[in-house]
């Protein structure tokens, strides 16, 4: 019961916050609401026994990505834009599509059949700690993708610098 209550709170907040994020006119507000949203999602992760994921959700998303967003928003002078219409005129069509998609997707959930469970039971993870279990998998079985991920980040860093750099007038 308590669990369901917790879930209810988080789910409600997440949805409300999501709606706020996409509907606020001023991007700064959106970013703020999103920050809150990410904390709630991190909470949900904890609830699902994923401490490490929850941590990086806060550190990377909330700490890094959102701050980046904030920087950008502040960097750009969007004052004039705020007076313009923020929502596309065709939003009813988009709403219809999204709603229909939601209905079909949730309808599909009924067909879900639980598959065989794996070896990482809650107890097993707890005894080993989540971070260690994740780390072991990541550095053994998923080493190669991990390396690629690092490469992607490197590329992103270089790319971001190249793109954002002001053109030197020669």
């Amino acid at each position: 019961m308590l669990q369901q209550l917790f879930f209810g709170y988080y789910a409600f907040m997440i949805i409300i916050l999501s709606l706020l994020v996409v509907t606020r006119g001023n991007p700064v507000h959106s970013v703020m609401w999103m920050l809150l949203l990410f904390f709630h999602i991190a909470g949900l992760y904890l609830f699902l026994n994923a401490e490490f994921i929850a941590a990086i959700q806060v550190i990377v998303y909330a700490g890094a990505i959102l701050v980046l967003f904030l920087f950008v928003v502040l960097l750009l002078n969007l004052r004039e834009e705020l007076s313009l219409r923020q929502i596309a005129g065709s939003w009813p069509a988009a709403f219809f599509i999204v709603a229909a998609l939601f209905i079909t997707v949730t309808a599909a959930l009924g067909a879900y059949v639980q598959g065989p469970v794996g070896s990482y039971s809650i107890e097993a993870v707890r005894s080993e700690t989540h971070t260690k279990a994740l780390g072991r998998l990541l550095y053994t079985e998923y080493l190669f993708p991990f390396e690629i991920a690092s490469l992607i980040l490197l590329v992103a860093v270089v790319g971001a610098v190249v793109l954002a750099k002001r053109k030197l007038r020669s």
């Binding site: 069509a93 599509i97 998609l101 079909t104 997707v105 309808a107 599909a108």
Partner: protein, 643 residues
């Protein structure tokens, strides 16, 4: 290898040497190579004559030329009575004309080129007459055509000369078209193109029919007529005679060698060579006879009014070639070949004399501007006079015997059109004598009508030119003595040697007439010859003002004759211009541009139109794309769910 194979290859070697080294090294000495080569061929030809007179026929293959499936053909030589006569004619004329050219072409910038072509021509002509199969004949046939093209267009900077060369080649191609088809039919029928099996099998197929283009036609008639197409082209018979007068654009020795003595007679040679086939088709023979007769009359009438020295002789050649065909057409192949042989001498002589006159007149050809040349050029005058007597059929000279033989055979032969062509032949004999002497009188008699400058330069030609004239003159007088008809021969104790000689190849039909009739025919032909000369004398010596008056009174006739019956204009109107017009306006303008290109360019245009419609969907707005993508996802998910 048989040494007779060298007969054609000596001139070929001379050609190769001259064309490769002539321009840089031989230059003014180019003639030595050619003359030596052709003289060598002449010696070998005489040896071959002796051999054949001894009763041998030589037939050998040099190497296999083409081999494809059942089709095999070699380069090979057949030397029999007919070939050897041709060999003598060709090598003799060629040698003399080579020598003559040394003087005539002296100082010309293309000296080496001229001799190279002459040698190449001699080679081709010899290949033609010596072939032992149809394809090699065709080889020589086209080869001589090529040389004629080169030599007519020798002064290629002149538009008229290059036009004439091209015209000769293309008109001949029309004839060769038929000739080629004839060879195909021969191969399809006999499975071979060698003379020997073809001629020996021909008799067995005398009644056979052949399905040609959907029609069943008499096989031998078909083959004969197709081959005759080639003859018509090469020997300038109606309707393909148009090239020969224009061919006079070439240097005069060329006109003498190619367009009088040798190449143009190849058509007659072809008919004679294929006599076993022609003899099996009465229709074909009739066509040959009528074509020959009509051409000879046609050309003779044109010759009456022309003023160009060489063109008159050219029309006379066409006319005499018609005579030869007339002979072949009535089955008297020997007479045809005999006339070919005598004609080679007197006609070559006429041309060379004309060349000599031109030489003296500085290239002037209009006989209206000449006159009284006999005073300046006695040798030329005498030889030309004799040649004209010979062509007019004055008894004792070469032309008389051959012409008389033809007329008698036409009159007395078995041909259904014999009497008709005899009548035409006799008329032509009259016209020939007339225009020949019109030429003589206008050129050599009367008063000189050219410019003072020209008169000042008049001179007799150099020795290298006059000696061949005199040698040919001997031929023009004496060449006929080998074919003295029995009527006279019996009295003076000689045979008709040539008829006996040729009998194994060409047969020798006997005339169905009495000696009396033969005498009458002969007298008629002598009379008309003399009458023609007399009339010319009357009109151009006694009453020189008469021709102009006649021209005025008969201006319509004169205009038609003078313009050669407008045949050139007709061809231009019905063939040349429509072809080019079609090419320009229909094929390029409509088929290629409007139809094919319309389709080719139309497909891309249609795609372009379609895509310009489709591109309106491409708003460039990211959210539109995303929305469409979302719709797609919705549809896919929905489909997966409903399945």
């Amino acid at each position: 290898m048989n040494s007779y194979a060298l007969i054609p290859f000596l001139p070929l070697a001379a050609f190769v040497i001259n064309i490769l080294f002539g321009r840089k090294y031989l230059k003014e000495n180019a003639h030595w190579v050619s003359i030596l080569a052709v003289a060598g061929s002449w010696v070998l030809a005489v040896m071959a004559l002796i051999d054949v007179l001894g009763g041998n026929t030589i037939n050998f293959d040099l190497y296999t030329w083409m081999l494809s499936g059942g089709f095999k053909v070699s380069v090979g030589f057949l030397i029999d009575q007919l070939t050897v006569v041709m060999l003598i004619v060709v090598t003799t004329c060629s040698t003399l004309i080579h020598i003559y050219s040394v003087g005539y072409m002296h100082g010309d910038s293309g000296y080496y080129r001229f001799f190279a072509y002459l040698s190449l021509f001699t080679f081709s002509m010899l290949m033609l007459v010596m072939a032992n199969n149809f394809l090699q004949l065709y080889f020589g046939w086209e080869g001589v055509g090529l040389c004629s093209y080169f030599l007519i267009g020798y002064y290629f900077n002149k538009k008229s000369a290059s036009d004439a060369g091209k015209k000769a080649f293309i008109v001949n191609r029309f004839g060769d078209f038929g000739f080629g088809l004839g060879i195909f039919v021969v191969f399809l029928t006999f499975g071979t193109v060698y003379y020997e099996p073809v001629f020996s099998q021909a008799g067995g197929l005398a009644e056979a029919t052949f399905n040609f283009l959907g029609y069943d036609v008499h096989l031998m008639t078909l083959i004969a007529l197709l081959l005759f197409c080639g003859s018509v082209g090469k020997s300038a018979q109606i309707p393909l005679h148009v090239w020969l007068p224009d061919a006079m654009e070439g240097p005069t020795p060329v006109s003498a060698l190619i367009h009088a003595a040798t190449m143009v007679t190849a058509g007659v040679f072809l008919v004679a060579r294929c006599s076993p086939i022609f003899s099996l088709s009465e229709t074909a023979l009739m066509v040959v006879a009528l074509t020959g007769a009509i051409t000879s009359l046609f050309a003779a009438t044109i010759g009456l009014v022309q003023n160009d020295l060489k063109r008159i002789i050219a029309y006379s050649t066409v006319s005499q070639l018609g005579y030869m065909f007339l002979a072949c057409g009535v089955g008297a192949y020997t007479a045809g070949i005999f006339h070919l042989y005598t004609h080679a001498f007197f006609k070559a002589l006429l041309f060379l004399c004309a060349g000599s006159v031109m030489h003296a007149m500085g290239g002037e050809l209009d006989i209206q501007k000449m006159g009284n040349l006999k005073k300046y050029m006695p040798v030329t005058y005498m030889t030309m006079l004799i040649a004209s007597f010979s062509i007019s059929g004055i008894p004792g000279l070469a032309g008389f015997f051959s012409k008389d033989e033809i007329l008698w055979m036409a009159y007395a032969g078995e041909s259904p059109v014999g009497k008709f062509v005899w009548a035409i032949g006799t008329l032509v004999a009259f016209l020939t004598a007339f225009y020949s002497f019109r030429l003589i009188f206008l050129t050599f008699h009367g008063k000189f009508r050219g410019t003072h400058d020209q008169e000042h330069h008049l001179h007799e030609s150099p020795k290298s030119m006059t000696i061949p004239l005199m040698l040919l003159c001997v031929g023009a007088v004496a060449a006929g003595w080998v074919g003295i008809p029995a009527l006279i021969g019996e009295k003076i104790g000689v045979h008709n040697y040539i008829a006996e000689f040729m009998k194994p190849v060409l047969g020798h039909p006997e005339g169905h007439g009495t000696h009396g009739e033969e005498m009458v025919v002969m007298l008629i032909s002598i009379t008309v010859g003399l009458a023609g000369i007399g009339l010319a004398y009357f009109m151009y010596i006694l009453r020189p003002e008469l021709p102009a008056r006649l021209t005025q009174q008969l201006s319509a006739v004169h205009r038609i004759l003078f313009n050669k019956y407008y045949v050139d204009e007709l061809y231009s109107f019905i063939i040349v211009r429509p072809a080019i017009w079609t090419a320009k306006n229909v094929l390029i303008g409509i088929t290629d541009a409007r139809i094919i290109e319309a389709v080719v360019n139309g497909v891309p245009s249609a795609i372009a139109a379609l895509s310009s419609g489709l591109r309106k969907i491409q708003t460039g707005l990211m959210q539109h794309y995303a929305t469409i993508m979302a719709t797609g996802i919705l549809i896919i998910v929905a489909i997966m769910l409903l399945r």
